[in-house]
């Protein structure tokens, strides 16, 4: 199987779905001629024309809102938000509209839109090009939210998202774009939305995470195994909403010691819900308090390297937290 970059996996998913289904199209700022500011949509306008890779005006509420209208009309739009930091102007369209269309119409209408938005820092993007905005949209029933960590999942989940009959927010991690490469089958396959995935089997501690930090967790786990004989069990949530409750409980029960990790700031993040689910269902199986390792509760990541490092997770921070939990 060819090894490809995470960003190419995303691009290929769009390209192949656009080839398969005429109703799939992409729209967003700079997604056409330029192929996106990261290059994610490169070549799509050349292959499919201006109508199916639409350079829109600089207006996120319209990007989302027009995509929602087109989705109601039976199309399968993929709306790109240039950075997840810039999707708040579209919050009303996403939360009040996309999420509620099926419910409020009692299943008469649906809104099969995909909203792609890059999350994550470590790219010297400062306060407004680094944010993880998933917690703002998390907890809005009617939305599905995915956040892949690998190229394989990125392609498979994006294809699932495009085919999904409901709105899916696809949070791709910009730090993964070119840093993460793995084996990706040529052609079509899907990764199911709503299913977590065990990345590593272990018996000492359980790490639950999603997106980029999983790579730090995997590296730290290898080192801890080699150096300390500590075996971490690592669960990739992959889908943030709906959460895979069973997958979470199984992984937590496996070791009885849980560390939840995400780059989004701690308070109000996905980790709180994951911890609450475990505290609700598995209290007596725990051998340690449920820990969370997350971004600090500051408004966003500073631009300067010292501030960025303070905010970002990395292998060392993961390793220290995992070791501490293992020793608890």
């Amino acid at each position: 199987m060819p090894v490809i970059e995470y960003i190419d996996a995303i691009r290929l998913a769009m390209k192949e779905e656009m080839e398969r289904d005429d109703s799939v199209f992409v729209l967003g700022e700079d997604v056409g001629l330029k192929g996106g500011v990261f290059g994610t949509t490169k070549g799509l306008q050349q292959q499919f024309g201006e109508d199916r890779a639409i350079d829109t005006p600089l207006a996120e509420s319209a990007i989302a809102g027009v995509a929602i209208g087109a989705a109601m009309a039976g199309m399968r739009p993929i709306a790109e938000m240039q950075y997840s930091d810039f999707m708040f102007p579209a919050a009303n369209q996403i939360i009040s509209e996309a999420a509620k269309i099926r419910y409020r119409s009692n299943n008469d209408w649906s809104c099969p839109v995909v909203i792609r938005a890059p999350i994550g820092g470590g790219v010297f993007g400062g306060l407004y090009h680094s944010q993880c905005t998933e917690s703002v949209f998390f907890g809005t029933p009617g939305l599905k939210i995915v956040a892949p960590a690998t190229a394989y999942d990125a392609k498979g989940l994006l294809i699932s998202a495009i085919r999904d009959p409901d709105p899916v927010i696809f949070f791709e991690n910009k730090k993964c774009y070119r840093l993460v490469s793995d084996e990706v089958p040529e052609g079509e396959y899907t990764v199911p939305i709503g299913k977590a995935n065990v990345l590593r089997e272990g018996t000492d501690i359980t790490v639950i995470s999603y997106s980029m930090p999983l790579h730090f967790a995997m590296q730290a786990a290898e080192e801890l195994s080699r150096e300390e004989g500590i075996e971490a069990h690592i669960l990739d949530l992959r889908t943030i909403q709906p959460l895979d409750r069973e997958g979470i409980l199984e992984a937590a029960a496996r070791t009885g010691k849980v560390l939840i990790v995400h780059e989004d700031n701690k308070t109000g993040g996905i980790g709180g819900e994951v911890a609450a689910i475990i505290a609700e269902e598995l209290l007596y199986d725990l051998d340690a308090p449920i820990r969370r390792l997350c971004g600090p509760d500051v408004p966003a990541m500073p631009y300067n390297p010292v501030g960025e490092k303070m905010f970002m997770l990395n292998k060392e921070k993961l390793k220290a937290a995992m070791l501490e939990l293992a020793r608890y």
Partner: protein, 342 residues
């Protein structure tokens, strides 16, 4: 609509390509909308329903715009006062009544939403919400879908003048202008947004805004339904010809309080309301038909009887109809047959 000689008047609807039957049907629909609306108010006052929001005196233009559209091909994104429009394009009084009572059989939302939140796939009416103006970009999306699929459907979307000050108005109009999409933006300017008068909503004219998006903006007198029909026909033709969007501002007046929850005497005078109620286009339309011999007191009485019967039956039906069951209220958060690959 001014009272001219009958020859001139004949010229009016006929000159617009409307048959006598259509002119009569327009009148009947306006009256149906009026009577439904009045019934809604009565039902609310008598405590049978919790809420009603009225479109009284806005119906003549709503019906006119409905008649200018193609019910088989166009997409409709009405706002909450558009009883005249939705009745024109096929929603029944019974359906509206089910929505008013919030009953399970209501095709708009099965009673999940407040009444007047229109939506019905069968009638090509997109589901609508309460946050105002969100439907404007949706209409642009429907128009974009038409364009991408090479279909000749036009999207029509309406909203109040207050709502035209939301960002979504601007973003939606501008997007449609760039893509030259087949969409008609309709501002029903009734002078108030709840208590806030036009002068505090904007210092400009809504219709003038089209200029900044590169398409025509037209202001039309809502008391002249034939003129309303004419500008909508033109806008529809422009849309089909690939010439892009039109913004139409219909000048009207909200004679009722904002909704049954509002007391309008806190912010305007009875004199102002009465003066505007006097401009009602409905009796003028009837007189127009009568002058032409297309309408009579007998036909009027028959119509009123028919409408009353329809309303009574619909009310009785809706009143006894069941609510959506509690367990069903959990359904349709997501598609129920949602497999992994479809």
């Amino acid at each position: 609509m001014s009272q001219k000689g009958s020859v001139d008047q004949q010229a009016r609807h006929a000159a617009l390509g409307l048959t006598d039957e259509q002119a009569v049907a327009m009148y009947e629909t306006m009256m149906l909308a009026r009577r439904f609306d009045e019934r809604g108010q009565v039902l609310q006052r008598s405590g049978k329903v919790n809420f009603h929001i009225s479109g009284i005196t806005q119906e003549p233009s709503q019906v006119a715009m409905g008649f200018a559209m193609n019910r088989e091909k166009d997409w409709f994104l009405p706002y909450y006062r558009d009883y005249g429009l939705v009745l024109t394009i096929g929603m029944t009084v019974k359906e509206l009544m089910l929505a008013l009572f919030g009953k399970g059989e209501d095709p708009n939302s099965a009673g999940r939403q407040m009444s007047a939140h229109f939506g019905c796939r069968r009638l090509r009416i997109a589901t609508s919400s309460s946050p105002v103006t969100t439907q404007v970009p949706h209409a642009v999306g429907f128009a974009l879908a038409s364009k991408l699929r090479g279909e000749d459907g036009v999207a029509i979307v309406s909203f109040g003048e207050g709502s035209s000050n939301q960002g979504d108005f601007h973003e939606g109009c501008n997007f449609a202008g760039v893509q030259k999409l087949p969409v008609i933006f309709v501002c029903e300017n009734n002078g108030y947004a709840i208590s806030v008068p036009l002068s505090k909503q904007t210092a400009g004219r809504i219709s003038d805004r089209a200029l900044g998006y590169g398409f025509p903006g037209i202001r039309v007198d809502g008391h002249d339904p034939f003129e309303v029909y004419r500008v909508f026909r033109e806008a529809h033709e422009r849309a089909l010809a690939g010439e892009g969007p039109t913004l139409i501002e219909i000048m009207t007046y909200r004679v009722t309080p904002h909704s049954t929850s509002d007391n309008d005497m806190a912010y305007r005078t009875k004199e102002e309301v009465d003066e505007n109620r006097g401009k009602d286009a409905l009796p003028v339309f009837r007189a127009y038909l009568e002058n032409l011999g297309l309408w009579s007191e007998e036909r009027e009485q028959a119509l009123q009887q028919r409408i009353r019967k329809e309303l009574d039956e619909a009310t009785a039906y809706a009143e006894q109809a069941p609510y959506q069951a509690a367990e069903d209220a959990f359904r349709y958060v997501y598609a129920e047959d949602n497999g992994e690959v479809r």
